[in-house]
């Protein structure tokens, strides 16, 4: 995506000099490396030097990405609680059996103990991804479209929607835990709201006021639709009939029954095991905190669509919605696909927010697969490194496929 025409990130620092920090600290520090690097240059020549420049990055990738990726597969075939590879007995496929020897993987209860945790986490994660990704994409798209309009203070609004992305998962969890406690502000607000509705229902002139307001709305609508009379006598008749029916409905309306409500019974949003509220709030909070990131990518995609396309459409008298369907949607599609896949990859790795917010509870309702891997390896007394590695390999398969799709999409988008 970095290949897009934009002349790179706009100048953060105006001068190439970089100011005093650069001049007095960084440059002298780097100058100290000059003699050894000059020596290397004479030894290796210009052809050998790029490898020296690449060495630190590649060494870290090698030791902390590629080596672990290979070890992961090896460890998944070993057992025991030792962290010294030589001390880990080879157990063949036993770790995978512990995860997969189920009567049905769709029923985690039919699995061995480790399999139960793994499949519970896996199905929760899948459910989370399936629910969360479309919601996130839709809301991010809606927000990007609104922010792409010619509105006042666009930068301000954009920044506000992006702000939660900056907050750490722990902070996000504390913020929402505080709002969603049983005696938190949300329950207090809903209680207050119910009381207000009941107070309104008890208000004397409510009936009259509400009905007059409703009649005014009906009248306004009827006046708007009155232009249809040109279509003929039957249209007039239908209009009159509809208006009459609406007016009758207004008179028959029991306003008090609509307004009055039961007192709000506080819900333990994050711990109520008999409802889907904990899962709902996990989806909500995660979307709340990551929305801005995807909104930003979509906004960049929207702004890359040439303006003159819309101007041409306007000159042809194309309605706005048609321009949206015929211009915006097809041209935004590559970005939208990238967002979809990227958010899927992220959703499969969800851990931080949920772990701090619900700890996977109530019961196992919000227990995700990464939490299962983390706990079976590092929290449980048994230290099931082998099982956790096997679970990681299975999860890595999912991530691998999704990431390859993402890379293919990004490449195609950059090439287009």
């Amino acid at each position: 995506m970095a290949a897009e025409a934009e002349p790179g990130p706009s100048a953060v620092v105006d001068t190439t000099d970089g100011g005093p920090a650069m001049r007095w600290v960084v440059t002298p520090l780097l100058a100290a490396f000059e003699p050894p690097m000059r020596w290397l240059q004479t030894k290796l020549g210009l052809r050998g030097l790029p490898y020296v420049f690449l060495l630190p990055t590649m060494a870290i990738f090698g030791l902390f990405s590629f080596l672990p990726a290979l070890l992961n597969i090896y460890i998944s075939f070993t057992g025991g609680a030792s962290t010294i590879l030589a001390d880990r007995p080879f157990v063949g496929l036993r770790n995978y059996e512990a995860l997969l020897a189920c009567e049905s993987i769709f029923v985690p209860k039919s699995c061995p103990v480790s399999g139960f945790g793994f499949w519970t986490g896996m199905w929760n994660t899948l459910l989370f991804a399936v629910i969360q990704v479309p919601i996130m994409t839709a809301v991010a798209l809606a927000t990007a479209i609104v922010l792409n309009r010619e509105i006042r203070a666009r930068g301000f609004w954009r920044a506000l929607f992006f702000y939660p992305v900056m907050l750490s998962p722990v902070v996000v969890a504390v913020v929402w835990d505080w709002v969603l406690k049983r005696r938190g502000i949300l329950n207090a607000g809903l209680t207050e709201f119910a009381e207000m509705r009941n107070a309104l229902a008890a208000w004397g002139p409510l009936e009259t006021v509400a009905k007059i307001a409703a009649l005014l709305v009906v009248a306004a609508l009827a006046r708007r639709l009155w232009t249809l009379r040109a279509k003929g006598a039957w249209a007039v008749a239908a209009l009159v009939a509809c208006a009459g029916a609406a007016a009758w409905l207004v008179f028959a309306w029991d306003v008090r029954a609509t307004v009055a409500t039961q007192a709000w019974r506080p819900v333990n949003w994050l711990a109520d095991a008999n409802s889907s509220w904990p899962f709902f709030w996990v989806v909500f909070v995660y979307t709340w905190s990551h929305l801005g990131f995807f909104m930003l990518i979509l906004l960049a995609g929207l702004q890359a669509i040439p303006r003159d396309l819309y101007e041409a459409a306007e000159m042809d008298g194309t309605p706005k919605w048609r321009a949206f369907v015929r211009i915006t949607v097809p041209l935004l599609m590559p970005t939208l696909l990238v967002v979809l896949v990227l958010s899927l990859i992220r959703a499969f790795q969800i851990f931080d927010e949920v772990y701090v917010l619900t700890g996977g509870g109530p019961g196992t309702a919000t227990r995700m697969v990464i939490q299962e891997i983390y706990e079976s390896a590092f929290v449980s007394d048994a230290k099931l490194y082998g099982v956790a590695a096997a679970a990681s390999v299975l999860l890595a398969g999912v991530i691998l496929v999704l990431t390859l799709v993402q890379l293919a999409l990004t490449r195609r988008k950059a090439g287009a």
Binding site: G8, S65, G155, L167, S168, V170, A173, W178, L395, L407
Partner: protein
Amino acid sequence: MGRAIAFLTRTRNPGRVDWTDLLAYAYLVLGVLLILAPVVWLFVSSFKSQRALIESDPRFLPYEQVTAVLPGSSRPVNLVEWTAPDGTTRILAQLRLSGANVVLADPAKPDETFQVPRRDTRPHEIVRARFENYSEPTLGGGAAGTFRFGLYFGNSVFVTVVATLMTLAISSMAAFALAKYRFAGRDVFMLLIVATLLMPATVILVPLFIVVKNFGMLDSLWGVIIPGAATPTGVFLLRQYMLTIPDELIEAARMDSASEWKIYYKIVLPLALPAIAVLAILSIIWRWNDFLWPLVVLSRSETFTLQLGLSSFKGEMLDATHYLLAMTVLTLLPVTFVFAFLQKYITTGIANTGMK
């Protein structure tokens, strides 16, 4: 107020405000409420007393019950405002409840007690922001106990600063090699760097842990810093930018027999500063907010980062909400300030790389 509304509702082509504009602004206002309200509520709550937090006082301002110690007693009692039948109000000490009545006394004359209906009294409260919630865990004192803010803050700053400097140094070196040299295996290196996207730390937790442990970096901040120091996003962000630096500059420097290292740090690095600044900001955010990997590596509380300290504090000290909220505010303040001043560069940087 009218001018504010006019300002906010004005569109760039005046005179044409249609219903979609109104809808757009309604959406924005709703969205901003949804985003800011919880954070503002946390901020306001962090100044409340422990008692107000335990009672979940839903009021916006930090009200605090006033108490007084009566002569001849050591226990503080609540003060209430009593409205006498003649309409005057007095501030009295509430000694105890007695059915629907309450036993009151003048704080100056605690022996003359009298009973009044409870509904004629209400708590005597003042608005007082409790800065102690902030000062006690940071400067000591009070019952903040296990939360050592200074230590965690120092650890977080160390990890963030050192890791960011390291990332900048090694990523810019790798990017320089990939952007400005032709050498055998360049495409292989590019592919390898992209391939690391396929192995995020979340799916190699166990082997990564074992590698780090064998390097003796467990329970050390270096175990947090080093494995994440190389980032494919960073290398590609910088390489993309360095490609725009003209080769003629480098050739000219070579003519002047500058060493390659000198070309890197005297010419390419200063010219790539805009991209380096973006990477610096991204790295600071990543490192400051990092959670899962530090959770795996660091198990002794002396090495905790702020995020770990906060999370364990949330799990353990259930009745210390006043400290938890205040410390959460202190944790989010640095990123909020960084964001407030640099939001333009952060948002363009992220939109351009598409990575977090």
